[in-house]
């Protein structure tokens, strides 16, 4: 296996060929923000929060999709990148109805945490206030399109880990919706196994367990590492 040597934020690091900048950075303690990436699932580069600067390249690159190269010099937290990330978060917040104060995930939401971490204290864009529905037809889970950031984690976990492919993306651009099967109520889905993996990987309160009150929902992503490690390495880690 060939090894690539590169510099991330002034730190000399090594990664395996084909490994992404994102993974090598995290393995070496450089935390790049992300919302769509989850270890164990394929990457799609949907959220653009992991954009990094690579010396010699004019365009910014999504760290989760860019393989490491020999001699690369990568910057992950320049002022320019921070400003871009703040804007991306503001766009996400303005796009749907993210009302933290009355959300089931208040206090444990990845979007909320990142916004706080990156200093998003105001949204400079005009809110769109789309009229979107809530689907609580499933016996155990609910889906609130108002809180969805279209990261597609749920789509990927359902397809790649559970193998059901109940969830998919409908429509285009910011008007896209996560649907179940052909777009019917979740509770009437023929393919859903009610495993709840989609709920656990969802970074916001868009997917939640029914019966949870405000700020009561907490998610457990440990299960995914467990499944993926078991599958790929044939090791049971707990």
């Amino acid at each position: 296996m060939s090894v690539k040597t590169l510099v991330i934020d002034g730190k000399a690091v090594t990664g395996r060929a084909g490994e992404t900048i994102f993974n090598v950075a995290w393995e070496n303690g450089v935390r790049i923000p992300r919302l769509c990436h989850v270890g164990g699932l394929s990457d799609v580069g949907a959220c653009r929060l992991c954009l990094v600067e690579i010396e010699g390249q004019r365009k910014l690159a999504a760290a989760c999709l860019t393989p490491v190269e020999e001699g690369m010099v990568v910057h992950t937290s320049s002022e320019r990148l921070k400003e871009h990330r703040r804007l991306i978060l503001e766009l996400l917040l303005a796009e749907r109805n993210h009302v933290c104060a009355v959300c089931v995930m208040n206090g444990a939401c990845e979007l909320q945490d990142l916004a706080a971490e990156l200093g998003v204290d105001h949204v400079r864009l005009r809110y769109r206030f789309p009229k979107l529905g809530v689907d609580t037809s499933h016996e155990r889970f609910g889906q609130d399109q108002n809180r969805c950031i279209l990261c597609t984690r749920c789509v990927r976990v359902c397809d790649e880990v559970e193998g059901a492919h109940t969830k998919d993306v409908f429509g285009r651009g910011s008007g896209s919706l996560i649907i179940n099967d052909m777009g019917g109520p979740w509770g009437e889905s023929d393919t859903c196994t009610s495993c709840g993996k989609c709920v656990q990987v969802c970074p916001t309160g868009a997917l939640f367990s029914k019966g949870k009150s405000v700020a009561e929902m907490r998610k457990d992503r440990g299960f995914l590492k467990y499944i993926v490690t078991a599958r790929e390495k044939r090791e049971w880690i707990r």
Binding site: V102, V134, G142, S213, V214
Partner: protein
């Protein structure tokens, strides 16, 4: 030539409002209106949300009494699940409600209203506030602030924070109470008793200095409504609805709060965003009724706690059957504070409150849920209709202040007739008109305080709208 005197905004109340006083050609006051100038829209934007979120969502209605909205929302949720929460959860909810009454009443009495009668209705308006009170009697003001802090501390203990605490949900509580919490509550009790006793003594000392205010600020017979328990005692969390009339006769008793629409109607007027509830059998506006501390002490047989009962007996000597003067709302508030401290002491000594079993679980079993409790300002109704998937289709909120709306309008008119001379408007007279509103401790948006810092504008206008003169205070 008829004119209108406008008080806008009304100060030292919670929320935003204005008062219009109409003066006819002969210079006599022909009427008065208390306008609520805010529109909140909670009933509308709760539509489409899962009902489990309602307690947390409804808490946001109010920064002063979020606990009441969480409780009413949780109780409506219990009704939708068709279950009763475990004993410990019910006791903790009661504890929260008493703490809420204590802190809210302390705010109303010490911070907002007492400057009027402890410093004088005609005293310098720049000093007629909690700061002026603190300057003239630092220990008394400090006790008021500490008493509120006690209530808030209890709320923070169970809710995690003082404002909009997410402590209760359909089926029970979301947290448990620890022994250390109960110990901390008990440590506060002696000071709380002492502070309420001092406030009562102080109020009783000055109350007879204001015979004119007692006689003419909102003093009229009306119906009174409140919850009582099965023994007819003062009840703040559960129980049945009772109505009494201005002479203390029981008009209706044992009414199911969940069936409130069979006996309470809601009218609307185009000049106010607040609804006008009325007692249906007497029609609108004849079915005017009052809620809140004065009403609760008028409808109950007793408070059910010894110290508050002793005070209640003395209080009742102020009326024939029922105590009708709105000025006595302040007194009633103090008696309820004493009652709340007694009940908090009782609950803190009850080992059952520490049980870890605080949540009953169930799926949705009903499509209609009504939750009712006594908020500091009066009876609060939350009515939710949900679809089979638990999404809210319709919400109706009957807020305490709304139920006092008719009475507040009448109180403003009565006070204006007695104290206001249209040809010579004095600051003290205007303050009495505002004080009539303060008696009811209205919580209009329930989200903002206006503690003497808002300008008060009085405008005299011809019916055509032409401005005759304008007086500005504060700002």
């Amino acid at each position: 030539m008829s004119r209108r005197i406008l008080i806008n905004p009304v100060t030292r109340i919670e929320g935003h409002a204005k008062i219009s006083i109409y003066v006819d050609e002969t210079g006599e006051i022909s009427g008065a209106q208390f306008h609520v100038v805010e529109l909140r829209g909670f009933e509308k934007f709760a539509q489409g949300r899962p009902f489990h979120e309602m307690p947390g969502l409804m808490a946001r209605t109010c920064g002063i009494c979020p606990v009441s909205h969480v409780l009413a929302g949780s109780k409506a949720g219990d009704a939708l699940l068709g279950i009763a929460p475990p004993e410990a959860a019910q006791k903790q909810r009661r504890l929260m409600n008493y703490a809420q009454h204590l802190q809210s009443h302390a705010l109303s009495f010490f911070h907002l209203s007492s400057p009027d009668f402890l410093l004088g209705f005609d005293s310098d308006p720049a000093r007629r506030n909690i700061f002026g009170l603190a300057a003239s009697d630092p220990d008394f003001a400090r006790r008021g602030i500490r008493l509120r802090q006690f209530g808030q501390t209890v709320i923070e203990m169970l809710g995690g924070r003082r404002i909009h605490p997410p402590f209760s949900a359909p089926g029970g509580m979301t947290r448990v109470l620890e022994q250390a919490d109960v110990d901390e509550i008990r440590a506060w009790i002696p000071e709380a008793y002492e502070s309420v006793r001092l406030a009562l003594a102080r109020f009783k000392k000055v109350v007879d200095e204001y015979p004119d205010e007692i006689e003419h600020i909102g003093n009229f017979p009306s119906l009174f409504m409140g919850l009582v328990n099965r023994y007819g005692e003062l009840e703040l969390y559960d129980g049945a609805i009772r109505f009494v009339d201005g002479e203390g006769n029981v008009v209706a008793d044992g009414l199911d709060p969940a069936r409130y629409q069979t006996y309470i109607g809601e009218a609307a007027e185009e000049w106010s965003y607040m609804k006008f509830p009325y007692y249906k059998p007497l029609g609108y506006p004849g079915g005017m009724y009052r809620v809140g501390p004065l009403a609760r002490l008028n409808v109950c047989n007793s408070t059910g706690t010894p110290l508050a009962d002793r005070e209640l007996r003395e209080f009742r000597q102020r009326g024939k059957g029922a105590v009708c003067a709105a000025f006595y709302y302040h007194w009633a508030r103090l008696i309820e504070m004493l009652h709340a401290v007694e009940r908090i002491e009782e609950l803190a000594a009850d080992p059952a409150i520490l049980s870890k079993q605080v949540r009953a679980r169930a799926g949705q079993n009903r499509n209609l849920g009504v939750g009712v409790c006594e908020a500091p300002r009066g009876t609060l109704f939350h009515h939710y209709e949900v679809d089979d998937n638990g999404l809210v289709r319709k919400v109706n909120l009957l807020i305490a202040t709304g139920q006092n709306n008719l009475a507040m309008n009448q109180a403003v008119e009565q006070t204006a007739r007695r104290f206001l001379r249209p040809d010579q408007v004095t600051e003290g007279a205007l303050n009495r008109v505002e004080a009539a509103i303060r008696c009811f401790d209205p919580c209009l948006s329930c989200a903002t305080h206006a503690a003497g810092r808002w300008p008060l504008v009085v405008e005299f206008r011809r019916p055509s709208g032409e401005l005759l003169s304008r007086v500005v205070r504060g700002g």
